[in-house]
């Protein structure tokens, strides 16, 4: 481990999160199928397809949903390259590693032998099911997030009966995450710029926990200021979400299409 490894890797993680948010905002502005729909239809449609991929027990049906997810992404201006780099390879890397031993250790009919270890039909099937299901679900949710402003996704959660209070908290949290990322980033950068020697393991942990402690104190102070600001604007605990969403004929048709596809997949895959 290099001497500033943990600071640098944390700064990189912050930068990755910020660049991902920025890329998402750029894609939201493009024209595409999902972008043309009411955000509530997007959220309900994508969630129902994710649910259908979880319910379905047949490989062929999940594969069909995967194709539908890819078509949806491509028709919404999401590049294939983005899907490969950001979703498929990463999912394959993690879920593939998790699913790989199942090929060998799942009891069943032996179909091949790899280095003297039996590969079972059931093992292959379960690994393929798991990988395909995760790929499908993550392709769908990533497409939704890339094509919908985050504030619209949060407001659309009201359509699936999430309480207003929770949506308000999610919206506020989402807003302050970026402020805290910037604050923590500045703290780590300033620390790194003052370091000329190497830090031992315990010293690095002390730096991390102190930074976390400062951030915690700042968060308490900030919450007080936010509360006073809310009160000064007349906040008394009642919340109302202002939604400017309007359902058009296309939205109703798309919603019916999403739900029909999800129901058909769930029924066919039972």
């Amino acid at each position: 481990m290099s001497r500033h490894f943990f600071i640098e890797s944390t700064i990189r993680a912050f930068a990755r999160a910020l660049s991902r948010a920025l890329a998402s905002e750029q894609l939201v502005a493009r024209r595409g199928l999902l972008q043309a729909l009411d955000p509530r239809v997007r959220v309900i449609g994508v969630f129902s397809l994710v649910l259908a991929s979880t319910i379905s027990r047949r490989f062929s049906v999940i594969a069909l949903l995967f194709v539908a997810a890819v078509l949806l992404a491509l028709s919404s201006s999401v590049r294939l390259q983005t899907l490969i780099k950001r979703v498929w390879l990463i999912v394959l890397g993690f879920t593939g590693v998790i699913a790989l031993p199942a090929i060998f250790i799942t009891p069943g009919i032996t179909v091949a032998s790899l280095g003297g270890v039996a590969v079972t039909q059931q093992g292959l099937r379960t690994a393929a099911l798991l990988i395909l299901r995760v790929e499908t679900a993550v392709t769908l949710t990533t497409t939704l997030v890339l094509c919908t402003p985050w504030t619209h996704i949060l407001k659309s959660l009201r359509a699936v009966r999430v309480p207003t209070e929770i949506i308000t908290m999610l919206t506020m949290t989402h807003r302050y995450i970026f402020l805290f990322i910037e604050t923590a980033n500045q703290m780590f950068e300033s620390r790194q710029s003052r370091m000329i020697g190497t830090l031992s393991g315990p010293e690095q942990r002390r730096v991390a926990s102190r930074t976390a402690g400062v951030l915690l104190s700042k968060s308490i102070d900030l919450s007080e200021e936010v509360y006073l600001a809310m009160q000064s604007r007349g906040f008394r605990g009642d919340m109302q979400l202002i939604t400017e969403f309007r359902m058009q004929a296309l939205d109703y048709a798309a919603l019916a299409g999403f739900l029909a596809l999800a129901c058909a997949a769930a029924w066919m895959g039972r």
Partner: protein, 370 residues
């Protein structure tokens, strides 16, 4: 396990596809119970203050989860932050803050699934918060805020809470092949049974991820002991500190006037009272045989003096009440009289209170200006 976030391993955000719909539904139901109870409790303690505090704290938890913590052996790990949240906000606040952070991770950063959000919140936010709370309270009981014991208690609480969460996730994974497989024996979701899932999950958490939470929790408590020990008292500390918690003015006033109205309506119940109130006698009561008997009854059998006491006789004419016997002279019905008296009394107090508040406000303004 993290699948598409920032490529980190060691945390246990279960993605979509690993758990069956019925497991997801059960976990959602259990988590919903926790969220409901937490929201109710936290609202009762914090009132309108809850929303900004929980929101900002959730943002803190989210950023804390991004810290790459250096661990012994040269590797790094990630904390969940649930123990720190539990120590500062208490278990109910921690449940909400951590759940919000987990939901944001799932919705926007692909860390954890949507169908498995209930399971992730149940494991990390609910079980994690309660294990952290119980362990921290047990180990730090009756210790000083700045004692070393609190640092160790926080570290152990962090370690155990993450391992309890990991164990929950391992059990959820492990029951999948037992319960959900096709006719040919193919597991339909997570493929490993309990005897593989539990050790596979726990080894990583017992040896690495648990220490990440332990270091961040212990380290933060140690830091807060030096700079902001009030935060270590939980919500009580926040209340005693500079953050004030106010009852929403509207709700308080509304409840107050409702109670006053009910009491006014109940005022005629006084008519139903039998006997006489001890000591509340007038000169005429001493000449009435019936009242004399009542006075003797409430005075342990001691008979009142035959003549009206001279002091009472003299002072009774000093002040004549506008509503003798709780009824103006022109009102014949005693029930209506009681009600009118109650309304008059409340109105009088209202006017006096208003005048007092105006005077106090002017005085405060004068002090501020000076």
């Amino acid at each position: 396990m993290s699948i598409v976030g920032d490529g980190r391993a060691g945390t246990m955000h279960i993605p979509d596809g690993y758990l069956s719909p019925s497991t997801c539904a059960t976990c959602y139901a259990l988590a919903a119970g926790g969220w409901y109870a937490a929201l109710k409790r936290i609202r009762r303690v914090l009132f309108t203050r809850a929303i900004p505090l929980i929101s900002v704290f959730a943002a803190f938890c989210f950023v804390l989860m991004m810290f790459n913590l250096p661990l012994p052996g040269g590797t790094t790990g990630h904390a969940v932050g649930v123990t720190a949240a539990t120590i500062v906000l208490g278990p109910w606040g921690a449940i909400l803050a951590t759940s919000i952070a987990i939901a944001i991770q799932a919705l926007f950063f692909g860390d954890g699934g949507i169908t498995t959000l209930g399971a992730n919140c149940l494991n990390m936010a609910i079980v994690g918060a309660f294990v952290a709370y119980v362990v921290y309270r047990l180990l730090s009981a009756s210790s000083e805020l700045n004692s070393r014991r609190r640092v160790i208690a926080a570290a152990i609480a962090g370690y155990l809470s993450i391992n309890a969460s990991a164990f929950m996730a391992a059990v959820e994974f492990g029951i999948q092949p037992m319960l959900f497989h096709d006719a040919g024996g193919t597991p339909l979701y997570a493929p490993y049974p309990l005897h593989i899932a539990i050790p596979a999950m726990m080894i990583g958490h017992l040896t690495l991820a648990g220490f990440a939470e332990a270091f961040i929790s212990g380290g933060m408590v140690s830091y807060l002991q030096k700079v902001n020990p009030g935060l270590l008292q939980g919500l009580a500390g926040l209340q005693q500190g500079k953050i004030e918690f106010r009852v929403p003015a509207n709700a308080g006033i509304k409840n107050f006037w409702l109670a006053v109205a009910l009491l006014m309506m109940a005022a005629p119940l006084g008519i139903l009272a039998v006997g006489t109130a001890w000591g509340e006698w007038s000169p005429v009561d001493f000449s009435s045989l019936q009242t004399r008997a009542q006075i003797a009854a409430v005075s342990r059998g001691q008979a009142p003096p035959q003549a009206v006491p001279a002091g009472l006789q003299k002072l009774s004419s000093f002040w004549t009440a506008p509503f003798p016997n709780y009824a103006p002279a022109f009102v014949k019905s005693p029930h209506l009289g009681y009600l009118l008296s109650a309304m008059f009394g409340v109105g009088l107090f209202g006017v006096l209170s208003f005048v007092a508040s105006v005077v106090a406000r002017r005085r405060n303004r004068g002090e501020l200006n000076s």
